[in-house]
């Protein structure tokens, strides 16, 4: 078994300072035996830092104030929002939605949710934030190594999702036809509201999908980018993506209210 030595450190970044976990250089096992796009294999990684928490609305607001950045959703009016009842995997196009109103103006803003992860931003927006903050997105492999926390199972807590409710804000309803507040939240929760993984990373699974850099062998379109970890929308009966093996695909300019990111750096 590969040794994983943790170096926890608080390293100053954009204010308010995110806290990072140091992942040492080494060879790590990633993937799953049956997965063609993420096969079981060993990967060599250089040492990197990864944020304990997802980027919040407050942090993104600081970026927007400093740069006057305008997000894809504000330019393209292409954001997709959610409100039950909806069939599985169906979302609503809402031209009013962007990061300040992640599910559209009619469903309320983020004024009281500044400590929630920023959503309704695209991969492109996330990379622009990273440039400003002097950080980057984790690669697909880096995210997986950090999420696993040394585990070789699909979840950092084992092979069954039975314990997911302790660690993640996910959808507990059988479908998406009715509201689900059973864990206290229908949409996002404040970052760090659930138990962390063994490395001290919060919301590794659930809350928001976390954008990662990198490509898959099967990528068809240059516009497809990837995010991992599942989200508040994800349920056991739908995608069940709140794990360390699945990799999602989305358009580089798409903005959904379940997409966010955490940052990394060398």
């Amino acid at each position: 078994m590969l040794a994983l030595v943790l170096h926890l450190a608080s390293i100053n970044g954009p204010s308010p300072s995110p806290s990072f976990v140091r992942i040492p250089a080494g060879t790590y096992q990633v993937g799953k035996a049956s997965y063609l796009d993420n096969p079981l294999r060993s990967v060599g990684l250089k040492a990197f830092d990864i944020a304990r928490l997802d980027v919040t609305n407050a942090q993104f607001e600081e970026f927007v104030r400093a740069t006057r950045y305008v997000t894809d959703a504000e330019i393209r009016h292409n954001a997709m929002v959610f409100e039950p009842p909806l069939k599985e995997f169906r979302w609503i196009h809402d031209r009013t939605a962007f990061w300040r109103f992640p599910n559209g103006v009619s469903r309320g803003g983020i004024e009281k949710k500044m400590n929630h992860p920023v959503t309704a931003i695209s991969y492109h927006d996330a990379t622009e934030y990273c440039k400003w903050a002097g950080v980057r997105l984790p690669t697909l492999d880096e995210w997986e190594v950090a999420s696993r926390g040394g585990a070789k199972t699909d979840y950092f807590f084992g092979d069954s999702p039975d314990q997911i409710g302790k660690y993640a804000n996910v959808w507990h309803g059988r479908d998406h036809l009715k509201l689900d507040y059973s864990d206290g939240y229908m949409y996002t929760s404040p970052v760090g509201s659930f138990l962390p993984n063994p490395l001290g990373l919060y919301d590794v699974y659930g809350n928001v999908f976390q954008f990662c850099s990198g490509r898959l062998a099967s990528d068809q379109s240059s516009r497809g980018v990837h995010a991992r970890g599942g989200s508040w929308w994800c349920s056991r009966n739908a995608c069940c993506f709140f794990n360390s093996v699945d990799i999602g695909t989305v358009d580089v300019h798409a903005s959904f209210s379940n997409q966010g990111f955490r940052v990394a750096r060398d």
């Binding site: 796009d37 497809g224 990837h226 739908a238 999602g248 989305v250």
Partner: protein, 243 residues
């Protein structure tokens, strides 16, 4: 000699890795089958005109900006059909992809993979078009199914979207012609599920693919017995719906 040793070692390692799945070609077969599953059928109605429109839309904004309402309405029904079949106007969410897995060519899944390379989906007006022109759409899907050996993923999604149970005999005929495409049987599953066909709802297949423990990746073995059972059920369901 040293170079040769390295080459042989690399070949041996590759062979060992491939043989892990029981057959040296297993991953390649599965990869090709996954691609086959997500391939779409391009309808011929006004194809050149529609492709040119899509190209212009993308060139204008690099983002597939939807046609204006006037542009969309100016298309004939067959052209709208082609437009809808080859172009999704909305973004598709991140977790729609069905992971490509080893051995998927032997499985009947409960759900179809996401359309349009997992990055786009039909808009509300495209879905409304399919539903409001159901009879014409069924006729065009039927013609496309008879023209091609493979029923594209887009046609399968459209069949499910408009509950086109009238196409069950065409789906069965398509599967008889090409037993490789187990997603034809998935389409039959979905028609029976959405139609709340009691014998299917009470089956072990339903329990496994749509029961309390099922998720988007759930599946049953695609063996001959399951193939036959699915077709028998679907034909009985069809007869019942047709009265």
């Amino acid at each position: 000699m040293n170079k040769l040793s390295i080459i042989f070692a690399a070949l041996a390692a590759t062979c060992f890795a491939l043989c892990q799945d029981g057959s040296p070609s297993a991953p390649l077969v599965s990869r090709n089958y996954h691609q086959y599953r997500i391939d779409i059928t391009e309808p011929t109605y006004g194809l050149a005109k529609v492709k040119a429109m899509i190209k212009n839309i993308k060139a204008a904004d690099d983002d597939g900006t939807p046609l204006t309402a006037a542009q969309f309405e100016s298309l004939s029904v067959p052209e709208k059909f082609t437009f809808t079949m080859i172009h999704g106007e909305e973004m598709d969410q991140n977790c729609d992809p069905m992971p490509a897995i080893v051995g998927e060519e032997k499985l009947i899944f409960g759900e179809l993979p996401g359309n349009f390379d997992y990055t786009a989906a039909w808009s509300e007006r495209q879905i409304a078009f399919l539903k409001h022109n159901r009879k014409a759409v069924i006729s065009m899907i039927r013609k496309e199914m008879h023209k091609h050996s493979h029923v594209g993923l887009n046609l399968k999604h459209a069949i499910v979207e408009i509950d086109a149970y009238e196409l069950i005999p065409d789906l069965v005929a398509a599967f008889d012609r090409n037993k490789k495409d187990l997603d034809v049987l998935t389409t039959l599953f979905l028609l029976m599920k959405d139609g709340k066909y009691k014998p299917f709802l009470e089956s072990a297949t339903y329990e496994k693919c749509y029961g309390p423990k099922a998720d988007y990746k759930s599946c049953v073995d695609g063996n001959t017995a399951n193939q036959k059972l699915t077709i028998q059920r679907a034909e009985a369901y069809y007869k019942g719906r047709m009265g």
